[in-house]
Subunit: 257 residues, 2 copies
């Protein structure tokens, strides 16, 4: 398959790297030509920063930009790619955002957290595909199967639910780790002491129902410890952490009362 990537950020980079193993990345478009060039040189593609340079001889155009930018991008590129399959990679954006402008619209959503300096285990990463036209759904499914063992045809509503859940499971849990690091850093205690606990908590929650794996003072209803932690956070002038501590603890108390 000949593939064009719109965007040169984290998702575009990881997709380009894995797709070039079995497909041809023809062009990388970014408004920042230098970023396009960095990625293009990795995958032997052409870097472009002008939509008029888009090559219509491509089988698939993947828009991997921020969710807010998708509707602008499709309006910008559609006139140059009249009959090409164009997909976005967003969990929260409906297919209709592309479909309103372009007839061969689709979605190719990998449910994963992407960082520049970490490799992705693509085989285990669930990929969700959607398309207006049945033959496009077939080719997106084939493409997804070429990189992952876990491919699903989900509609925009199901994908939205997953993405909302992913914000809790990934973004908020990561912020919990970040807050823990802020707390130990302030007392010059080594954050790596918490690493085994973080990994075991994640392993437990994926091997069992996380509700059954809940531990800690709120789950036990231990008001003495809850009050003491509140005092500690108050004494260190961290009302931001105090507010989150209160809300999370009350929610856990209620769930396990």
């Amino acid at each position: 398959m000949k593939i064009t990537l719109i965007g040169a950020g984290r998702v575009a980079t990881h997709l380009a790297k894995v797709l070039q193993l079995q497909h041809q990345i023809v062009q990388i478009f970014s408004r920042d030509l230098q970023r396009a060039q960095t990625l293009a040189s990795l995958v032997s593609a052409q870097a472009i920063d002008d939509v008029r340079q888009l090559d219509p001889q491509t089988d698939l155009v993947i828009i991997a930009v921020s969710d807010q930018a998708i509707s602008n991008v499709i309006e910008l590129i559609a006139p140059y790619l009249l009959d090409n399959l164009i997909v976005h990679t967003s969990g929260s954006t409906s297919l209709s955002v592309l479909q309103n402008t372009h007839h061969r619209a689709g979605v190719f959503y990998p449910l994963q957290t992407f960082s520049f300096d970490r490799d992705v285990n693509w085989l285990e990463t669930p990929v969700f595909v959607e398309a207006v036209e049945p033959q496009d759904l077939t080719s997106l499914t084939e493409l997804a199967n070429s990189l992952s063992h876990r491919v699903y045809q989900y509609n925009s509503t199901q994908r939205q639910t997953l993405h909302l859940a992913a914000v809790f499971a990934c973004n908020f849990s990561n912020y919990c780790y970040d807050m823990a690091k802020q707390i130990v850093d302030a007392e010059q205690v080594d954050f790596s002491l918490l690493h085994p606990l973080i990994l075991e908590t994640a392993n437990k929650a994926t091997a069992n129902d996380p509700k059954d794996m809940q531990t800690g003072p709120a789950m036990r209803g231990d008001r003495n410890i809850l009050n003491m932690h509140q005092r500690l956070l108050g004494d260190s002038n961290r009302s931001d952490l105090q507010n989150i501590y209160t809300l999370m603890s009350e929610a856990i108390l209620k769930r396990h009362q």
Copy 2:
């Protein structure tokens, strides 16, 4: 070493199982004799439910009960164990809670999350020891070294900081997983689709600074997605999840603005 355990819950069970490999568990005390018997039979110890049966021929007494119960327990058992080393296993309880009643007081705190049906990787679990008398600190350190590679002599304040951070890193992150499961369950979407994301997020945060690993709509400042998620949670009458979503997102926005 001859060891007596006060308590038969998750921490007592995991400690008894690992300590019996190199030491002798002489007695398990619990007010619930049946629970004491269940654990005692696992580690060839005597089960008791009456403090008058406590054997003073023991080298170490480990109080592994809920934090609130520690002060009652020490008052109850100290008259029968006048010259024995007695420790608690709590992250948030000061050494002084034992020291007020008993002269050979100490702490043996393993920083881990314990479930009945999961084995613990003791070698990688950090253990924090503290004691009033120097020779007791030495023997607690030796005992800790016999099960873990990561043993630290920490005072009560340092231990308290770690325990507070652990509530964020473990209890709150687990509740994030639980909330994610509630969201997908409501739409009959399979929670296991989120497993690779949960594990990768934990792995990233332990290989790097979690602040640098933050992703998601709040980190990107994407107000459209934040508002849409708020609407979705409102539509499903989950004001509890909505409140946590708002507070966590605002905190992440502020941290990454």
